[in-house]
Symmetry: C2
Subunit: 331 residues, 2 copies
DNA sequence: AGGGTGTCTTGACATTTGTCACCGGCGGGA
DNA sequence: TCCCGCCGGTGACAAATGTCAAGACACCCT
């Protein structure tokens, strides 16, 4: 087919990178389902092999075809089994340790996000209600989710705003994940922290706020990161956590933060237990471990926070890396 | 890593090609989830790249990782849309025509099986009840299903035994598919055809039989092939279909067989309509077309059978190949 | 009608991947 | 204890795949 053949007729006004016809679909079918080589597909479709490669890449980019693995596989790893048993979890999903490079914190978060999105997958579907917290690991999770369109699904912001950095804020994480899933996004239009109790009570009276709070109770699955309690976090939330607050709660025995609430080593939060942890039917996925394997100041704090979250029964599933998992079972 | 390194410790008594440890899992994770190259994975795991390739191939063979595509895509193919509209189907899934080789009947069946398994996928899940008929296309469907474990799911044999060949018998198809899905298998422990009405009535009184019949009514989705009425089929079911029976029903206007019952061009079965076709909420997937595009004696019969099944409303979805679909819309 | 722009396609190249024959250790049997 | 068979690992080669810059066609605007 060296002659410059006439283009196939297309639908006239198709979006930029859109390909109106069936070529992508058929290429995808022949390649992925029937296991033919790209050359064979090219011959069958009458185009060059390079085009077939393009079609396939397009199909993957658009999520028309997806490879997925049983998320339980990660739980079958020996370490995962020990962890799950030790903390009475429904599953502990352990990803391989990274390159061991100390500068890989960002990379580790990216990989935790990938793992989290896999673990989340079986919980998604029509009528599902997904509660999303915030943090950089949540952000990574959103970025790892394949784009899809799930009708009748909702993504609910489970914590108030003004937490986290710009990109890892609750609003942004929730919106990103909702967009990726093609689901409805229901944000929490109120700050997480207000200065007076009167303001708090007034806010709770707001119909929109009350509605959001009741939505949170209907979540079929909640995902959150585990934050450590440490001077470093003060930097990013000046209005929420300051030196005085952290010291105060540390003195009271707090070990970590889960969805904006302090938890201690016994699993008792500072006020009511978050997440409806009494509800055994709701899946609660904790993603943690970013940084916990590094030999830094915050390392022990991070471990303590995760251990507190697990002991307290805040999570039913944990996603973490091998190094962190190792330390968790050792203790 | 050219030095012959010591072998990793393994579980002693593992089955032949079984690999006890986590290496396969981690290789799979790093490669498929994180998108690293095999060389990188090899470096991380400390083995040769060839071994990684072997691990991955093992993972695919065991179905630990599976690629799947949106089944609706197949329905979006133009031909599929016409078909669906013409016969008021919820979807008509059209796979590309084969190589055009007349000897490819077996291959076509294999490909129909792949398509069928994709179409079936969204109907599977917890609490789902899958009704399975029989035939070589059903067998191919089972073989195309990836191995998985779906809790609380059942696979129900919807027709009596002694139909089809050894491998394509109702029992075998049902068992195969149940195994692949990790679901419970509920067989029909009775012959499909008995010689006297008295025997039939007596069987219906049996508690086990009655229970199975009620199970069939609870199926959330039923899958079946469409059989043509033709002298050739006599060969495989000597006890059921013989020359006389076929001629008898042909004379009465029968056009095909669906789940062991004769149907005619108007969609009226010989006795009651099968499959609870009045139930609009139940998905009924028909897989048909094997051989229908070939220029043989049975070709028209096969087409007529499929058309009868569609016109009669026995199916809500059809899976077929492009050549057959073409002929169906032309008529 | 002419020129510009953007998209799709293509051939060529570099990389990645699948496969096969060979190798080495381990375990079982004589 | 020695030998043999088997299983898994490895290196090297061939095939398949991803990527890039350049070309061609259609559409749009003037």
């Amino acid at each position: 087919m060296t002659t410059p053949q006439a283009r196939l007729p297309r639908t006239p006004n198709s979006p930029p990178t859109e390909f109106g016809g069936d070529a992508v679909t058929w290429a995808m079918w022949l390649y992925y389902a029937e296991g033919r080589t790209q050359s064979e597909v090219a011959k069958l479709l009458g185009v060059s092999r390079a085009s077939v490669a393009n079609y396939l890449s397009e199909a993957r980019r658009r999520g028309l075809v997806s490879i997925n693995m049983q998320p339980d596989l990660l739980a079958r790893v020996e370490l995962g089994r020990s962890l799950a048993q030790r903390f009475a979890l429904a599953g502990a999903h352990v990803i391989p340790a990274g390159a061991g490079d100390e500068s890989d914190l960002q990379d580790l978060r990216r990989r935790l996000g990938i793992a989290g999105s896999e673990v989340l997958r079986p919980h998604l579907g029509r009528e599902a209600v997904l509660g999303i917290a915030w943090g950089r690991t949540m952000l990574a999770l959103g970025q790892a989710l394949p784009e899809q369109t799930i009708p009748d699904m909702r993504v609910v912001q489970v914590s108030g705003s003004s937490l986290g950095g710009e990109e890892s804020s609750p609003e942004f994480c929730t919106a990103l994940i909702a967009t990726r899933l093609g689901a409805r996004c229901q944000n929490f239009h109120a700050p997480a922290i207000v200065s007076t109790r009167e303001m708090r009570d007034a806010l709770l009276q707001e119909p929109g706020i009350a509605r959001q709070l009741s939505r949170i109770k209907t979540c079929s699955v909640v995902v959150f990161g585990v934050g450590e309690l440490d001077e470093a976090v003060v930097f990013s939330e000046p209005d929420f956590l300051n030196q005085a607050t952290v010291s105060h709660y540390l003195a009271k025995g707090a070990a970590g933060i889960v969805i904006g609430r302090f938890i201690d080593g016994c699993g008792c939060g500072d006020r009511r237990p978050p997440l409806g942890s009494a509800d055994r039917h709701r899946a609660r996925v904790a993603a943690g471990g970013a940084g916990a394997h590094l030999h830094r100041r915050g390392c022990l704090r991070k471990l303590a926070a995760i251990r507190a979250a697990l002991s307290g029964g805040y999570a039913t599933r944990l996603v973490t890396d091998a190094a962190t998992a190792q330390r968790l079972v050792e203790a």
